[in-house]
Every structure is written in structure tokens, then in C-alpha cells.
């Protein structure tokens, strides 16, 4: 069997119905096991690109997920393998209870009662909110909602986790815990965000999108330490923040956890 990357995008173009061009020729390949941050100014086409990964939008060009072309006959399998987590957990969590939300994907996959229940408790356990099955999403804290939103795709046992603005609106502690949670998950990840330190913490590779194209692509350190490159594309590191080589600073998951 020849080599099949997790994501393979070639010459992808997309324009919204009103004519706005959102993607103007995107080429991107992501290997299995990678953790990639996609950054860029508002309106660069990041979220639009995400929606192409599981066929919610389809533009001109080629998109393959683990070798499968994103087209109608593969959608079922692709949507199982790609866990897409939206920015606002209130969009992701639409069922009356957390259980129903986390069970939604597995049930759509056609699993039986017992398997669904097992998948739900495993997913909730994995994101650290075990036992909240019966709660209403409305009553969860924002950090818990974010976790529950990830559980809704983990329960489908995805091979690729795609997160839109994972760190937005989280307080520093929740953000830190969330970061540690992500790093504990050994699966291919794509993060779309403005939060450059979060990307630096969580991703080995950074892709800058600008005006519907990939403007830069490289390892986190070399991209994020290139101030001129960042500012060309409307990005900047937080004041006082300067990335140091990965090996000198432990990531949150490697720091000692205090109880």
C-alpha cells in the first residue's frame, strides 16, 4: 500500500454564494500524527478550509482524507474519521443533555445501545468530565462545554481532530488544562486559532493562511519567531512573548501538576 497522508489538499478554490472568494488555490498536506496550527487574520479562509475537510462545503479542487476523496459516497466514512469541533460549544452541543450530544455521532454511525453508552462514557472520561451525562449543556461552565464539545467527536473514534478556535474565551487555568488535554491525545490534530502561544504549545508545525492561500508553512519555532513574516500577515505575538526553542521550556503536560 502506498503512503496516504491524513489530509491532502490540491488546488482548492471556493467562493461563497454571494461571490466572495474565500479560498484561492490552497495546497496542503498533513501527515498522520502531526499537530498543525493554522493561523491567519480574520477572513483569511481558515474556517472555510475546515469545512472542506469533511465535505460540509465543497469547492473546486481535490481534498483527500486518509486517501479517500471528499465526495458524496465517502461522506459517511469521512465524517466518522474527521472530528470537527466548532468554535462556539453552544453550536456543537444542541441536544437536551450531554449524553444525547455525545451519543449523537455514534448513533448516526449505527452503533447499538450498549456500544453507544460505552463510547459516551469513554469519551467523557477522556476529556475529564465523566459522570455529567445527564446535565444540560446550558448548565456547564464554559471550560466544561469546550470539553463536552470535544467529547462529541471523540465518541466517534476519529482519526483526525479539527478544532476551530479551541482556546477562545477560556480563562488561563481552563486554557492550560485544555492544552494539556490536547497534548495527551495521540491523534492527528489541526488547530485553527489566533492564539499564537497556544499554537506554539500544541503544534509542531504552523501554517499561515492569508487571503485564501497558504502564505507560509514550517515548524512552529521558525514561523513564530519570524516577526516580519507574522506582521506581513496581520499577526503578532503577545507583548513580551518570544518563542524559545521547544526543548528549553516544558509544555503544560510535562510540567508538574499541582493538586
Amino acid at each position: 500500500m502506498h503512503h496516504r497522508p491524513a489530509v491532502e489538499i490540491k488546488g482548492l478554490y471556493y467562493a461563497y454564494p454571494d461571490g466572495t472568494a474565500a479560498l484561492r488555490g490552497v495546497d496542503l498536506t498533513i501527515e498522520e500524527g502531526e499537530s498543525v496550527g493554522i493561523v491567519g487574520p480574520n477572513g483569511a479562509g481558515k474556517s472555510t478550509l475546515l469545512l472542506h475537510l469533511n465535505g460540509i462545503l465543497t469547492g473546486h479542487g481535490e481534498v483527500r482524507i486518509f486517501g479517500l476523496p471528499v465526495e458524496k459516497r465517502n461522506l459517511r466514512e469521512i465524517r466518522r474519521r474527521v472530528g470537527l469541533v466548532f468554535q462556539d460549544p453552544d453550536d456543537q452541543l444542541f441536544s437536551p443533555t450531554v449524553f444525547d450530544d455525545v451519543a449523537f455521532g455514534p448513533i448516526n454511525m449505527g452503533l447499538g445501545k450498549a456500544e453507544v453508552a460505552a463510547a459516551v462514557s469513554r469519551a467523557l472520561e477522556e476529556v475529564g468530565i465523566a459522570g455529567m451525562e445527564k446535565r444540560s449543556a446550558y448548565h456547564l461552565s464554559y471550560g466544561q462545554k469546550k470539553r463536552a464539545a470535544i467529547a462529541t467527536v471523540l465518541s466517534m473514534n476519529p482519526d483526525l481532530l479539527v478544532l476551530d478556535e479551541p482556546s477562545s474565551n477560556l480563562d488561563p487555568r481552563a486554557r492550560n488544562e485544555f492544552s494539556a488535554l490536547l497534548q495527551g491525545m495521540r491523534i492527528t490534530k489541526i488547530l485553527v486559532t489566533h492564539d499564537l502561544p497556544f499554537v506554539f504549545e500544541n503544534c509542531d508545525r504552523v501554517v499561515i493562511m492569508s487571503r485564501g492561500k497558504i502564505a507560509a508553512d514550517g515548524d512552529s519555532f521558525s514561523i513564530l519567531s519570524d516577526e516580519a513574516l507574522l506582521s506581513t500577515h496581520g499577526l503578532e505575538l503577545p507583548y513580551g512573548f518570544y518563542p524559545v526553542s521547544r526543548h528549553t521550556v516544558p509544555r503544560p503536560s510535562e510540567r508538574e501538576v499541582e493538586e
Partner: protein, 253 residues
Amino acid sequence: MKHAFLDEYSGLQSPMHRLDPRAKLVGLVALVVICVSTPPDLYAAFAAYLGLELILVLISRLPWKHVLGRMLIVLPFILVVAVFLPFFNKGGGSYNLGPFTVSAHGLLVLWNVAIKSTVSVLAVILLSSTTPFPELLKGLEKLRVPRLLTTIMSFMYRYIFVLSDELQRMRRARDSRGWSGKWLWQAKVIGHMIAALFLRSYERGERVYAAMLARGYDGGLRTIYLYDFGAVELGFVALVTLFPLAARLLAVG
């Protein structure tokens, strides 16, 4: 407003709470139908209905304060209409109460409305206070209520407070910028807010739909039902239908 408003106390533990929602739905609806179709002068039958419900309240360990409070919310609406009937309705003889004349027929109508609404409202309280709303929806679904309806109700339950929070944030933003609501030209602002709320809800709808598609949604909303309709459920349905029926027949006898 608290989210628990709809189904407060539905998380308690009691034999009533453990029942399959289908049994409660079928049994209590049957009780209401039997009650509503009873002629108003079968007083013993109504005593039996009410007695049965009070026993069910006892079994479900609901606080009396909660039950009475809920009844007080609903009853005035019905009673306000009925309370004037004895004065205007003619026929069936009359009684003199100081300056007022009260017709016997009117009194019977008042009693009829009052007792039937009491029994019905109590049945609704029993159902909603012992069954979490999501479980109730699943019960309805299992009883073949069209999925479109239960889906709409489920989204309503999920998003009504998200929406009201959104509205509240908009209000605060508006008032923080000096909106007083005193002037006619400010009325336009309310129109804009309604439009904004509509647009936001519409867009949220689109995002929710995308989130559903992303998890393999194909048009059918499937859920898992955790209850079994067993002997206890059968017993409950038999009790709340057969007992009132018997009481009614005996009262006629």
C-alpha cells in the same frame, strides 16, 4: 430565569420518577380524559380522581409547596373566567347571597370548570415534576409522536435560554448606551433588536446544522431510550385508568 423551571424536581428519586415516561404519559392523559368526560354532578368520582393524584404526589415525594405553587400559577387563568358564571348563567333555581343572586346551574358550571382544571393541572404537574424534559420527549417519540414535533421541542428546550441570554446581553448593551425607552423614535431600536435576534438565531441554526452534519446527521434524529415498559409500568397504567373508571361507574350506580 432558571433552566430547571420546566421540570424542577424531576431529578428526585421515587417510584414515580423511575417509571417509564410512556407509562406516565399514557396513564395521566387517560386520567384527564376520564375526568373531563365525567358529568359534573358525580361528586364521588371527582373525589376519587383527586385522591388518586394526591396519593401519587405523596409517592413521588414532591414538596407540597412546589405542587401548590405550580397550581396557583395556572388556576387563576381558568377561574377568572368561571367565577362570573354563577351570576350571569340562568336556570336551575337560584340562591340569594346578600345583594347577589346566584344560579344553581351557574354554580355547577363553576364547580365543573374548577374541579376538572384542578385534576388536569395536577396531572401535568405530576408528569412534568417526575420526568426530566428530555426523557419526556423521548417517551413521546416512542409513542409515535411525529419526530419533527419532538425535535422542535428538543431544540426549544436546548436554546430558549441561550436565546434569552443573548437578548439580555443585547439589552444591556443598548441600555449602557443611554437608551431610555421613553421616546417614540426609540421604538425603532426594538425593531432592530428583533431583527438582530432573528438573524443571530438563523445563523446559529446554520452552524448547529453544520455541527450535526459533521457528526453524520442524515435527516433522522436518533436517540437512545433507556427505559423498558415492564410490569410496574403496566400496573401504573392499569391503576390510573381502571381505578377512576371504576369510581366513575360506581358514582353513577
